[in-house]
């Protein structure tokens, strides 16, 4: 027993009572065999198929990426050994930043240890540098963006999800001369929908705003070179700051922002969460660079993924399962109840050896609990058919709704802004 354990236990019990206490599945990916993986339960293990990985293209197992990490580890060593300023800047991270600036057609890039930190550092620093700045934020923006806004101390206005008219309305209420930031994502990770980027850019021009886009669920996967939705739609030059991750489609670890040389230099110089933390290790940076370079040229991973996504979506619709509307690689299936969602996930794992984590509050609003499926190019036709059968069996056995809400307009999700409990699904 530790000091104040009664309080900590009470906080945990609150999650149990709501059916949303999270148990982490202990997985051991089987290297080149991914999405096959070992699931460890106590002293036993069994083979499962992972259907909810954010290693969207399986690049974490790509031979050139693995080799880049191994080579750098052997040749240079493991850790960075310091902050970027104090002995932690190294050739692989400089090369990585060059690669990222090129990917997004920007002057500069800056790498962080995670996408979460890149949003905290990016948003908070930019809004502190701009005098009397005000932020306009999509209501469904990720927790890390919300943390960045809170850190900044700048006033903010929340616009309804992807609602151009509402954003315009809010922008028009603020004097033109006052610096503004419009912060939004390209692909929203729990619904799989895409924002109206071009319209937001028009508004930014009209109302003197900087555009800050989070492309973490799109980089590597969309656009001819994997530059994201902004590249796909030919809008790279209209976005001021593109934030991305190295930990999803690029299969490694870390986050980044790209933008003008002056903006990036200001974040580099003023963000405590960048300054006072150890740099990304050389082997991780080298692996990320190898992954980006590969995906700039190779399109087979993107095509393979898109084919798997299309196949699965078609089968799910044919089977009458409650597929939520999505025009991306993210396939949410509606359940609408935390306990049932967990039960469905448990049954898939126990009976069918299929691992899909239940998605509950606060990751999504209560009443919109779902299973979220992310096919990779490495899921075979056979796996896709098996998944579909397993879902049908699970839906029938648990009597889950098949006519559930097809598209949900979620609640205001700024969970981390709320007083405790602001927490844990």
């Amino acid at each position: 027993m530790g000091k104040f354990d009664n309080h900590f236990q009470k906080a945990i019990e609150a999650l149990h009572s709501e059916g949303r206490y999270r148990v982490f599945a202990n997985l051991e990916r089987r290297g080149a065999a991914f999405p096959l993986s070992w699931l460890y339960e106590g002293n036993t293990r069994r083979e499962v198929v992972i259907w909810c990985s954010n290693d969207y293209l399986g690049m974490g197992k790509h031979p050139s990426v693995v080799q880049a990490m191994m080579d750098a580890a052997e040749r240079i060593g493991v850790g960075a050994g310091g902050t970027r300023n104090i002995s932690g800047t190294h050739l692989p991270i400089i090369e990585l930043e060059g690669e990222l600036a090129d990917l997004h057609g920007k002057e500069s890039a800056l790498v962080f240890t995670s996408g979460y930190v890149s949003n905290i550092a990016g948003i908070s620093t930019i809004s502190k540098v701009l005098p009397d700045c005000i932020i306009f934020s999509d209501e469904l923006n990720h927790a890390s963006m919300i943390d960045g806004m809170r850190n900044s101390g700048a006033p903010k206005k929340i616009f309804r999800h992807n609602d151009v008219a509402h954003l315009k309305n809010l922008l028009s209420e603020v004097p033109l001369g006052r610096p503004k930031i419009i912060a939004f994502e390209s692909v929203y990770s729990m619904d799989g929908d895409i924002s109206p980027i071009s319209d937001f850019c028009d508004l930014a021009d009209e109302y003197n705003a900087l555009t800050y886009i989070d492309e973490v669920h799109a980089v590597g996967m969309y656009g001819p070179r994997g530059g994201g939705i902004a590249e796909q739609e030919g809008l790279l030059d209209r976005i001021d700051v593109i934030e991305g991750t190295l930990a999803k489609a690029f299969g490694t670890l870390g986050g980044y922002i790209t933008g003008s040389a002056a903006l990036i230099d200001a974040v580099r110089s003023y963000a405590p969460s960048f300054i006072f933390t150890t740099a990304l290790p050389r082997p991780v940076a080298a692996a990320a660079t190898a992954s980006i370079r590969h995906l700039k040229i190779s399109t087979s991973e993107r095509e393979g993924q898109q084919q798997a996504v299309a196949k699965l979506k078609k089968l799910l619709v044919m089977a009458g399962l409650p597929l939520m509307s999505s025009n991306t690689h993210i396939i949410p299936i509606f359940v609408g109840d935390a306990v049932q969602c967990k039960k469905a996930s448990d049954r898939l794992l126990e009976k069918h050896n299929i691992y899909i984590q239940p998605i509950n509050y606060p990751t999504v609003p209560k009443g919109t609990e779902r299973l979220r499926i992310t096919p990779t190019p490495h899921h075979t036709e056979h796996m896709i058919l098996e998944l579909c059968d397993a879902l049908v069996e699970t839906w029938e056995t648990l009597s889950l709704p098949c006519d559930g809400v097809k598209h949900v307009v979620p609640m205001h999700q700024h969970v981390s802004l709320q007083p405790f409990p602001a927490s844990g699904g």
Copy 2:
């Protein structure tokens, strides 16, 4: 030119005008030859000796650590592929957390992508769970701890650096029943002094407070098994939360907290900066575990480092250089001026091929600028002698003070609490 670039440029110019614009040295560690390293300048490179690494024991190049990373990369792949909850928990990270709990004699441990994030998540979540909590914070606590306190929204009281009487005074002003946290570090990284841990624990018992210690500059290096200063002083069981890093003496990447099972579970369940971020990759976790296991048993690295530190301190004192008081492995030499400090660093690098980054505001208070030297067990006697000669030459050439302040009581350093500019040295 990007939008609002004039504002970003102005922020950068402010740093130039104060002589504290930071230029990152681009280094390529030479694997097993570390602390020897290549310094890249444009298209040329030359060999330098790194004297300011936080890879304090050189574990980043240890064969067992390098091998563990390579094996895991080859066998399992590079990235984690998801948050801890959504497909990102894996066997190596579970093993790592077990290893850390054992290292500090605690029930549980939780790993984060950095020490910075571990402090944000740890301090903010604990103080949110404890009802009506109030935090008592040493004035020199690290930026990440300050960020955690700010995130928590809990009221805080700042006590003078390592001042037991002042802390007691502040504690006595708050009702006994009200939950309290005493947050402090064991080794302060820029001065190298050690806090009165035992006295703080006595006060915690007396005034109903939880003790939260940051041991990032001590883990791996102090105590019979590398458990830090708390282990060395036999105080592990009196500390409620021990926070540490895998990125300094353990030579890899990541941060962690250890404590009671209930406390760790609460942080795991409620901290947005833990929940909504990708897990540490398997190869990094495996490398960290190898490093911790090695340093639990092997003492040669600690002994080698302590010998190098003792030798260098002795030589510096004999040479009449203004060594600031330090009873640890951190050796600060007083300069007291940002521009002179940068000049000294530049001269060491250009003339002597010695790399020691200048330490300026806001890392240390203005007027206490310094060079901060961290000997490793891999710095040879010859390197130590060369360093001493080079420092003497530099001090003479630049007419730097030799009778500078030997021990500085620094100003209130809670830089990130201040409005912009809260920034960059």
